[in-house]
């Protein structure tokens, strides 16, 4: 079994969070360093996982298993494949940068950083679970940190509404997935929640067709699938910066990751049966999200809806059920996570100084905060799928995959890039270039060094993956091959 690196990874933030809650009131100066150390450890551990995962052997590695409730076939079972490693690295990056950009939070900091850590535990747990029960266990731990962080530190106008909407949507999605999962549990030959056993269960086609929508749609709600996407922009806009980063950057990936791991991998027949419908919904996601993003007047809503649009691409990749589509979807999950985290962090930095998110009243900020402008442009280029950046590496295979099953979807999705380019470029021009409004002349300063480190780190990964796709592609590929084998080599 070896060194329990995954357990350590999951429990570091948990214990850090508990420690911060208990001692933070007495030693407020230690809160941020403890959170930063925990986040750095998580980041380093995910890098170690990335570096030591053996791509030749593929499959699930770093496996740990202990019995938990053997009677019902529940075990504490951790393990990661290529796709999960990418997601863990993404989580490490976003949590680390999230702590950096939240440095200035002064209202009840001990709770803020503790909840942030709990959220990290939840997400890391989901990505490394090989047991269905455990996956839900970790998934639902996130409910209260998410809700409390939005309603306590969120933007005062919409936090009560946005926080409640987001939490309720995510909860009902999970509950439907739980019902579907329990249903397939009871028809599985060997009653077990173990994903590896369920993968081999060979469910009857009728079972798969019946329960696939419950599980897939339940999880896809967490990924913002149309028509259940409206929580995403509302919730992400209401949330404080670090939480927007985590929610849009990682939490939405949790949804699609679980949809892939549970719905598609356990019920491949069902996936094939319903793939046309997913394609239709996902295409609406892509186009509709982009159009709505274009007409937004609020800086943060633009990014919120762009997430909806980009998550549609991930779902298109899933629904194409072929090598290219799945590979692209995996890459897009990583690329979009980093990109959105960067977007939201910069939106937060701009808002902190200007106290407005109204695009029309912003302008010329590149003069005052050039590094933020640089980061935003990089993220913008990634979201347009510019060659040389991670977005390109991710989106091209998705279009190729979609072309193989339904060329019309590929065409529509590619056209949506034009819309994306339009709203991203417009936003960049209006916010960062042109006249700097007079009232900001004195009040806006350059961003702090910590913010710059955050932007630099996230940008580095987008450029790095863009220039050296071999860092990430074989990793995702090893995970995709396993899925293709389950799908029966389609």
């Amino acid at each position: 079994m070896g060194f329990p690196i995954l357990s350590i990874l999951i429990f570091i933030p948990l214990f850090a969070g508990i420690a911060i809650l208990i001692f933070g009131r007495k030693k407020p100066e230690a809160i941020r360093p403890v959170a930063l150390v925990a986040a750095s450890l998580v980041l380093v551990l995910t890098f170690i996982l990335w570096a030591t995962y053996s791509i030749e052997n593929a499959g699930y590695q770093f496996v740990e298993q202990f019995s938990w409730l053997p009677e019902l076939g529940i075990s504490y079972h951790l393990g990661v494949d290529g796709i999960s490693i990418a997601m863990l690295v993404l989580t490490g990056l976003v949590v680390f940068t999230g702590v950096l950009v939240s440095w200035k939070i002064n209202d009840r900091p001990e709770e803020f950083f503790a909840y942030l850590m709990f959220l990290a535990t939840s997400v890391l747990g989901v990505f490394s679970s090989l047991d269905l029960f455990m996956l839900f266990f970790f998934l639902e731990i996130a409910v209260f940190p998410k809700y409390l962080m939005i309603v306590i530190w969120g933007s005062p106008q919409t936090r009560v509404y946005g926080g409640m909407k987001l939490t309720l949507y995510l909860f009902i999605g999970t509950m439907f997935a739980i019902v579907g999962s329990l249903a397939i549990y009871f028809v599985s030959p060997e009653r077990s929640f173990d994903l590896l056993i369920l993968e081999k269960a060979g469910f009857a086609a009728s079972v798969q067709k019946l329960w696939f929508p419950f599980i897939f749609l339940g999880f896809a709600i967490l990924g913002g699938i149309f028509p259940f996407h409206s929580w995403a922009p509302d919730g992400h806009v209401a949330a404080p910066t670090a939480i927007s980063m985590l929610l849009a950057g990682v939490e939405m990936k949790v949804g699609v990751f679980a949809a892939l791991r549970v719905a598609i991998m356990l019920l491949p027949e069902g996936a094939r049966y319903w793939s046309t419908w997913i394609l239709v919904l996902a295409t609406i996601n892509v186009v509709y999200g982009a159009f709505i993003a274009m007409i937004q007047k609020d800086f943060k809503y633009v990014i919120g809806f762009s997430s909806v649009s980009h998550m549609g691409l991930v779902l298109i990749g899933f629904a194409s059920l072929n090598y290219n589509g799945l590979l692209g979807a995996g890459l897009q999950m990583f690329s979009h996570g980093v990109m959105t985290a960067l977007f939201f962090s910069i939106v937060g930095m701009v808002y902190d100084q200007t106290h407005t998110r109204d695009i029309a009243s912003l302008g010329g900020l590149a003069k005052k905060m050039p590094f933020a402008a640089f980061g935003f442009i990089i993220a913008g280029l990634v979201s347009m799928g510019m060659p040389g950046l991670s977005g390109f590496i991710a989106e091209i295979p998705i279009y190729m995959g979609a072309w193989q099953v339904a060329p019309i979807v590929a065409i529509i999705a590619i056209i949506s890039i034009v819309i994306t380019a339009a709203y991203i470029l417009l936003t960049i021009r209006k916010v960062f270039f042109g006249e700097l409004p007079a009232q900001y002349e004195a009040s806006v300063h350059d961003i702090s060094t910590k913010d710059k480190i955050a932007i630099g780190l996230l940008s580095l990964f987008m450029i790095g993956i863009g220039l050296l796709p071999q860092l990430m592609v074989p990793l995702i590929e090893s995970g995709v091959n396993h899925i293709l084998a389950l799908l029966g080599g389609v």
């Binding site: 938990w68 409730l69 529940i74 639902e140 409910v143 209260f144 009560v160 409640m164 309720l168």
Partner: protein
């Protein structure tokens, strides 16, 4: 050992109850001498109850064995054992919460009444004879009527006691009428004998259904299931808060074991009737509880409606009529004991110091008493079924039982309800965790914090470690199933 073999099975079967009776005597005696030190009495009873609990845990565990005692009056098995433990723990925590306050006169009478109702509940958990069942239910109820109205100067408390009495008297009369049919047709009061009569087809189906409805009225009152739930909000709001907590946990658990045992024993030959009935009750109870909870402004009243809705979730487990279903229902009740007592405990602490239990009184709890706020957080999250707390597992188990029994629609009703529930639970949390203005730190006496710590530990441990409890429940649920 020689001296262990002296007591007969009959004696051992009611040993804890004898202990409780002695405890009542001592308490009343001490109450005469220690008039001025009421808290001492509280600790005395809490320790006495703990001793009984230890004896029960250490020496009286029946394991997988089951036998009847006192000529078929009581059934000694893992199921009754498990529920008696729930009831005694509930009583200990209630006593701890009742000390150190001035909302009502905490006295030897109060404790004696509480202990008397514990005796009744313990007997309810084991009763397997109509006479015993009825006597146990009344022994439970009558002290509770008095306790609900114990704040003699508070009109709403007196009103709640009276309301509880009228409602209880009415439903138990209906239940007794149902019992009389069973006796009339079978000529016996023993549940197993009645069961034989029914399976021999000697009672017409129409009468069976009539009896079922009447008896379920009595038990439904105890578990506060729709449409016998009307008393719950008024009584929970008016009664002393620790008593509300006791009613919603221990008393409810006793109601559930009676319900499960009666249905499984008496109607063992044709379970379809009661399964359908319980399914309908479950649906209505969940919906009524949750929808009305949305409208509440008072924390205790809200908890009352939430407690009704939880009875609905537990009924899903009962309705499935399977081993997993009973296991789920029992696990749910165990978790619910700690969870709801913690929630009522917080309500109690807030109420004693702020004068009322309005939800708005929770504002800024995180600032004034962070520890209390986190205890509240944990209990509310457990109520809404969020891990890593016990409520998550128990909800999953109940839903799993429903799906196993093929009642997917009922589970979907449950899912929608837990969604509604989450809405008002989150609103409570938002209030407690909103900054608000600086308010005075709440005083939390040692007995209260001890009780809260026990509750929180219970919630967390039950939410993370499952195997030991589930294996207990295996025996308990097997006992109930094998009654068939």
């Amino acid at each position: 050992m020689e001296f262990v073999s002296i007591p007969s099975n009959d004696f051992l079967a009611i040993l804890p109850e004898i202990g409780l009776l002695l405890l009542i005597g001592f308490t009343l005696l001490l109450g005469v001498f220690k008039k001025n030190d009421k808290n001492f009495l509280g600790w005395f009873v809490a320790i006495g109850l703990s001793l009984i609990l230890v004896i029960k845990l250490g020496f009286l565990n029946p394991g997988s064995e089951q036998h009847s005692a006192w000529g078929g009056m009581l059934q000694v098995d893992a199921a009754s054992y498990f529920f008696q433990i729930i009831i005694i723990i509930g009583a200990i925590l209630t006593v701890l919460f009742s000390t150190n306050q001035n909302k009502f006169e905490f006295s030897a009478d109060y404790l004696a009444l509480l202990l008397a109702s514990v005796i009744g509940m313990n007997l309810m958990a084991a009763a397997s004879d109509l006479i015993m069942l009825y006597l146990a239910i009344e022994t439970t109820s009558i002290p509770l009527y008095v306790l609900a109205g114990f704040m003699k100067k508070d009109q709403s408390s007196v009103e709640s006691g009276l309301k509880y009495l009228f409602f209880g008297a009415m439903t138990s009369a209906i239940m007794l009428y149902g019992f009389s049919f069973l006796y009339g047709f079978s000529g016996d009061t023993n549940l197993f004998k009645i069961s034989e009569t029914i399976s021999a087809g000697l009672i017409p189906m129409g009468i069976q259904i009539l009896v079922l409805l009447m008896v379920v009225a009595g038990f439904g009152f105890k578990v506060s299931a729709f449409p016998f739930h009307f008393w719950a909000p008024d009584v929970y709001q008016g009664a002393p808060t620790p008593i509300s907590g006791f009613l919603s946990t221990a008393s409810k658990s006793a109601g559930f074991i009676v319900l499960m045992r009666f249905l499984m024993t008496t109607f063992s030959s044709n379970p379809q009737n009661w399964m359908v009935l319980v399914m309908i009750l479950s649906t209505a109870t969940m919906l009524v509880g949750n929808l009305l909870a949305l409208l509440q402004k008072d924390l205790k009243r809200l908890l009352a409606y939430s407690s009704i809705s939880h009875a609905g979730y537990i009924l899903i487990g009962v309705a499935s009529g399977s081993q997993l279903g009973f296991k789920a229902a029992m696990y749910y009740l165990l978790v619910y004991l700690f969870t709801n007592l913690a929630a009522f405990g917080v309500a109690h602490i807030v109420e004693t110091q702020k004068g009322s239990s309005q939800i708005s009184d929770l504002t800024g709890l995180i600032k004034s008493s962070p520890g209390l706020a986190f205890a509240f957080l944990i209990s509310i999250l457990s109520l809404s079924g969020i891990p890593p707390f016990g409520g998550f597992v128990s909800k999953i188990l109940v839903f799993a039982a429903g799906i196993e029994a093929g009642m997917v629609w009922l589970v979907l009703v449950g899912v929608v309800n837990s969604f509604i529930g989450l809405f008002y639970y989150l609103n409570l949390l938002r209030t407690a965790f909103s900054s608000g203005e600086e308010s005075e730190k709440l005083r939390i006496s040692p007995s209260w914090s001890l009780a809260l710590i026990i509750c929180v530990l219970g919630i967390v441990v039950l939410g993370v470690v499952y195997t030991p409890w589930i294996s207990w429940l295996n025996f308990a649920s097997t006992n109930l199933i094998s009654l068939r």
